[in-house]
Subunit: 361 residues, 2 copies
């Protein structure tokens, strides 16, 4: 095994949330839509890897329902490299599948795993952090990427750092002391104050032989089930082998299967802007503001209105008069008006529509 | 002249406001749209006169731009009785024109003048008040209709009552002490407290010979200019005569030309619900409320939202989440979100669109 084979990226794109209803839909989840205007989130994710990871070294793991649209949005990828899971079996299965495929198609290449639906900027600092993480991965470590907390977030998992393994300018590399689940407000405040905690960005790097060895040690049933799928990769029997193996699999996350148990894990702390955009509230910070603090995507008119999020995707004239701290979203078939800091409740609209008007979700 | 000829109603329908943008438009003003759902306001106005004033005794004075749509909405009216003013010359000209036409087509009939765009309910109490006013008109008085103030409104003109001329149940008839313009807040509070003031509903009744005589005394130039138009009524030369006479006319309101100067004016105070619907805020009170105090016209979803006005005319799913005291209006080409009690500012949106996107106003 060479240690200089360039890395391969695996984009995990199985999400199906409706937190960005009405722009995101059951059949068109967050990663396949443009929330900020311009490219969709998955297109931006592929673009952001260039030139570190050229498109021919990018794989996408997605769902059967989204595979066609994903291939349409990413014509620069090999169609076979957009791989549809027949059913969702959480991230450990996804990682094992990807590792088996990469070991066959790109022998010796370290793999980078990343979600399809994050806001990350700028691309060069992101790539520098990835490169630093790949260096660690080549040495046989499991590598995770951590974000320095900007506030006491209760919506993210955290990584506690231990001793420093290296540093390259703004990029710090530490051994991981432990992974922790989403904290309560008190815990989040402590984590923020301590300076020893990072947000877990859900981005990882490792060698395929290392991750397969570790998974075989901690979840042998998973590797046993998926090894025949790896063997079938590149043959006409792949889809059938995948469906046969995936169906009976127990769901388990890579965090639980591996990261919380493995010993030699490094965390790369970098200085890029990162947001996993959990709701309309989070989008607010990523759109430019006008003089009145209104953050706008699309055409909009604001009169005596301040600090609103306005996302107009319907072609209608959208006008706000004398209102503050609202998110107003239009699409051709829906209009949402939601209080800022209350957009977690949007799911209740989706739940009602699921009963009364399922074609609108 | 007989005093038992049944009355004729003249509906003044020249308004072109945009206070109900985006539902009302320059080419489709308030009276030609349905704000409450169901019939348009002018259709409701004609219906509300039945059976007191059958459709064959209803005239509409409107603008050239709106005449065709008005005739389309009121197929039960004689097309010739929807009369288009070539230009707007305020209400005194409109009254004189209608009086001249009625004197010719319905000799001896008293006339009732009323706007096309008011909410009035119930019809039977309204008709009882009109009948009481017509009785006064037959005796040679100018008659106006007053509404007992429900609050210290600064948006209406007022009528001060003098001695009682008669009473019929809830309907009181008084001599008018004076007409007063829209007061400031202090004045409105005094008027409300005194019990002697009524909102001026802009509804009138009089004999055509009386009003033409009074106008001839106070504004002889107006009657001089319009008499040839009355002569041409019913001939092919009418439209040309009307255009020739109207063009040079000075604009003057019936209030200023006549009511503030005439002596023998009666005011009928009745107990019907009345609102001239000046803005979206006013509409709120006329739509049914759900358990959370949301007043809704059209399909809408409200989650954790209270005391909003929701008017959905676009066919989109309209959803409000965690918001209060908003008016949200949708049409196929526009979405308006405006703070309740702030809808007077909607005109600023219209002013901006007039420059940037005039087809949307």
């Amino acid at each position: 095994m060479t240690t200089t084979t360039p890395p391969v990226a695996v984009i995990m794109a199985g999400g199906s949330g409706t937190r960005f209803w009405p722009v995101s839909r059951t059949k068109l989840p967050k990663q396949l839509v443009s929330l900020l205007g311009g490219p969709t989130m998955i297109q931006a994710t592929v673009a952001r890897l260039q030139p570190l990871i050229p498109a021919e070294r990018v794989l996408v793991i997605t769902t059967a329902a989204q595979a066609e649209e994903t291939r349409r949005q990413l014509p620069m990828l090999k169609p076979a490299h957009v791989i549809a899971e027949p059913v969702g079996r959480d991230t450990a299965a996804c990682v094992a599948l990807a590792a088996l495929i990469i070991a066959k198609d790109f022998p010796g290449a370290p793999m980078i795993l990343l979600p399809a639906d994050q806001v990350i900027d700028p691309a060069d600092r992101f790539q520098a952090a990835l490169a630093a993480g790949v260096d660690q991965a080549r040495q046989g470590r499991l590598v995770t990427f951590g974000i320095t907390p900007r506030f006491a977030a209760t919506g993210y998992g955290y990584v506690e750092v231990a001793e420093e393994l290296g540093r390259d300018g703004a990029i710090g590399i530490n051994r991981v002391a432990r992974f922790v689940e989403k904290p309560n407000a008190e815990g989040a405040t402590e984590y923020l104050a301590s300076g020893r905690f990072r947000w877990n960005a859900g981005i990882f790097a490792w060698r395929t032989d290392v991750v397969l060895r570790e998974l075989a040690a901690h979840t042998p049933w998973l590797i046993e089930a998926l090894t025949p799928v790896g063997t079938a990769w590149g043959t006409p029997g792949f889809a059938e082998a995948l469906a046969a193996a995936y169906g009976p699999l127990k769901k388990i996350s890579i965090d639980y299967a591996l990261l919380e148990k493995a010993k030699d894990i490094a965390v790369v702390t970098a200085d890029f802007i990162w947001d996993d955009l959990g709701s309309w509230d989070a989008l607010y910070d990523h759109l430019p503001a006008d003089a009145d603090g209104n953050h706008v995507s699309g055409e909009a008119i604001a009169v005596g209105s301040h600090n609103n999020l306005m996302v107009n995707r319907s072609g209608q004239t959208l006008a706000l008069v004398g209102v503050e701290n609202l998110s107003v979203i239009t699409t051709p078939d829906a209009v949402l008006v939601v209080a800022r800091h209350g957009s977690q409740q949007v799911k209740m609209v989706v739940e009602r529509l699921a009963v009364t008007l399922p074609e609108r979700i």
